[in-house]
Amino acid sequence: MTAFFGKIKNWIVGHLPTKRRLIQIYTALLYNANIKGYISGDIFKGNSKYVCAPGLNCYSCPGAVAACPLGALQNAFASSGNSSAYYIFGILGIFGVMFGRTVCGFFCPVGLGQELLYKVRTPKLAKSRATRILSYLKYVILVMMVIAIPIMYSAQSIAVPAFCKYICPAGTLGGGIGLLINPVNQQGSGNLLAMLGGIFTWKFALLIVFLVASVFIYRPFCRFFCPLGAIYGFFNKFALFGIKVNEDKCTHCGLCVQHCKMDVKCVGDHECINCGECKAVCPAGAIGWKCAKLFGQENADAKVSVSTPIPCEAGTAQEGHSVFLTRDASESATDNSIRSSDIQGSPLMTSGDAVGKKRTKGFAIQLTAWILALSLLVGVALYCNVFAESSSGSIEVGSVAPDFSLRIYGTDEKNAYTLLEDRFVLSEHSGEVTVVNFWATWCGPCVEEIPGFNEIAKEFPQVNVLGVQGLADRDVARFISGRDRDGYEDRESWRDYTMIFLQDELDGNDCLTYIAFGGRSTWPMTVIVGKDGKIAFIRNGKLSESELREQVERALNA
């Protein structure tokens, strides 16, 4: 029994989380510090969402406190013709130059999840030249799904962030499932289940495939699919933080590449996530961190001693030699191995006092860094959960529709299409069926469904079909007229549509009528008000023309 508990103790001590793991857990908590969101089922709307998190973390996750760089990039391409591309390129450039793919190794929750799943004790699929070739698939996905498709649809002013929409597992798990599991989002105006169909089924299946693959393959999503890793890979060679090889000490034994689970050809190339695990296996101590001086760690690892020799197969690495995996300083080596006496006089060895002072300085710097980091986490958590105000509505079918008075878009006396002083007042149309569609210029599905709503408006002239525009990213009148921000004609004009376009009242970033009708940050949303002035139907998400027709007929016959 004592031996058993001794084994348990040794296992725990040997498996304490590394600094890298702690940093990964920290960043996952930091990115998703809005705990209130998991309870309320709504996303965070604070000002921290002006900033993008470095790693992949879907903005639609209830806990997310920052924007996602990949989603923002796709929206930038999807909205080409406006200005957002400069901002997101600046953010990606700064993260790339500073960290390169260190973001993947340290600051990405998706990478953390995959690494934890990889720990499950199953046979593993080793890397090979084939996986190296397959790792270039992420560049194909970057070009196709992140750049080409959004740009091609942007010419018609429809936002299609193809990677987020069809592939991203972070969006499915954090955003989709994160919102769906909350009971608030399963009923009433917040009901998100009603909009699920083929796209969600596909993405859910893809998520399961990624999760299962992560058990057998190291970081399959990062290695083969992640466009963000592909982007950061361009910066890896010259990023300020990351792994570097001291070419003077390197003996080109190739152990670092052999030990690495990523598809690297050399340490620090575009596939290297700068996790630092190769440092422990380098027998010459040639691998270190860039900017190590900042953390007082230069030569702190100068001890190059060996522990139990681990034989390798003949014909590999250095032929006829044993190679070693070092964990900590211990006894000297046996024959045919690198002996500590061989390196006694090497520049790596420093005096004990100098090493001790550097270690003290390094410890102080790291302690300060951790204190600052934890303070930041606590500060963000307090800001999101205590100080930041959130506003979202909730309404049920059968409740009385709130009245509103909103300005109409139309043609003025100078024949210009603009926001008029005329208003549409709901209470003046009691006894009539009114379809209220909340849409936005930046929302692709919203723009897609508008022509269908207009067809219903033409087919049922006794029904008021309203398109209420919320928070816009461009001039709405120009958008309705079929022109982009710079005046280029890019789509069919809606000026002569039968349906009526209104502008919601805004209070800061809140759309008041949208919230009054139970809106919970999801777009588009369609509400049908019956003849009795009560809510007859609510739908979050895109509504097909046929289903809208069915609901309108039901409301007319009620």
Binding site: Y87, R121, M152, L179, Q186, T201, F238, C312, N509
Partner: protein, 333 residues
């Protein structure tokens, strides 16, 4: 095989099967919900439907979690011997041995001819694969950048058609690459054996590397870096110009757009090959200044972009999209 190893192997196989079964169960239930409810126009996903379909996968998931925990306990009781499985890098071995083979003299003539022939065969196969990749890239570019394939009323069908059209090229490339890799490995193994046998017992002196690409490598690498940084600097403007060019207001010509895309493809591939070739020969003393210069320029451009984005509303656009959920855009549709 020791008892501990047998136990670990059996456990690993069982857990692997269970993992796949759990995943398949989730996928089947989701597909069942979707296809089962497609008959009418309302969404097949309801609270009751989801709950009833989740019971079996969640039970299997619980079993899986318990099995994974058991695995950790087993790894404590029967720890695995730490062994690094190191694979032979035949390409690296061959490049070392090749240098040792004298370039002149009759003693090694047969060896030289055989190795050259085998090397040529390998390069021919890789050349064919490269041609296949280029052809696939051209076809994909032709398809992807044709606006006629993008219809605003059927985006889902457009994406499916895109995948259907290009996936076979992707499969062909994958098959070609796998074949080339297998042949490469087999051939290199033979070449290494031939080279070793030829060098055994013979007097030979290593050939010095007569290529001296130092300065040329620096110039080429620096030039490519300048071009790459220039492309980074111009990307937002390119995206905007392309979008305007394709919109109805511009005089759009598909041939022009396609030609630009193909030229970019050729330039990118050529630059990548040159960069990979020459960056290896850069002297260490020149590498760090080049990297620092690139980092400084890119950082400066990025900061300027950030400022431009903040002042012209780009930051606000990012914020608007981050605080509102376009449901289909995150896969809820």
């Amino acid at each position: 095989m020791s008892k501990a190893k047998k136990i670990r192997l059996i456990y690993g196989l069982c857990l692997s099967v269970l993992t796949v079964v759990v995943g398949v169960a989730f996928i089947i239930e989701a597909a069942d919900i979707y296809y089962g409810g497609k008959a009418d126009s309302t969404s097949p996903y309801t609270v009751d439907t989801v709950r009833s379909h989740l019971i079996l996968p969640l039970i299997l998931l619980s079993v899986w979690v318990a099995a994974a925990i058991i695995g950790y306990v087993l790894s404590v009781i029967y720890p695995s011997e730490e062994k690094l499985r190191v694979r032979t890098n035949y390409a690296a071995s061959f490049s070392v041995l090749k240098v040792l083979i004298p370039r002149e003299g009759e003693d090694f003539a047969d060896t030289r001819n055989t190795l050259q022939r085998m090397s040529l065969t390998r390069r021919t196969i890789w050349g064919a694969v490269f041609a296949l990749l280029t052809a696939s890239g051209v076809y994909m570019a032709v398809y992807i950048f044709d606006p006629a394939h993008y219809h605003t009323d059927a985006i889902g069908n457009d994406i499916l058609a895109l995948v259907r059209n290009i996936i076979w090229w992707g499969v062909a490339c994958l098959v070609g690459i796998c074949f080339a890799l297998i042949y490469d490995n087999v051939s290199l193994r033979k070449e290494v054996d031939i080279a070793r046998n030829a060098l055994k017992g013979g007097r030979h002196t290593p050939q010095t590397n007569t290529t001296a690409h130092g300065k040329a490598a620096v110039v080429v690498t620096a030039s490519i870096s300048v071009v790459a940084v220039g492309v980074f600097a111009a990307l937002p403007a390119i995206a905007t110009a392309l979008s305007h060019y394709m919109s109805k207001g511009g005089e759009y010509s598909y041939a022009v757009t396609l030609s630009v895309a193909l030229i970019l493809l050729v330039v990118t591939v050529t630059a990548t090959i040159l960069f990979s070739r020459y960056s290896r020969d850069i002297p260490l003393s020149a590498r760090k200044p080049i990297h620092m210069a690139i980092a400084a320029v890119v950082c400066t451009i990025s900061v300027v972009y950030l400022m431009v984005g903040i002042f012209n509303g780009g930051a606000r656009d990012v914020f608007i999209k981050a605080v509102n959920i376009c449901t289909e855009c995150i896969g809820l549709g």
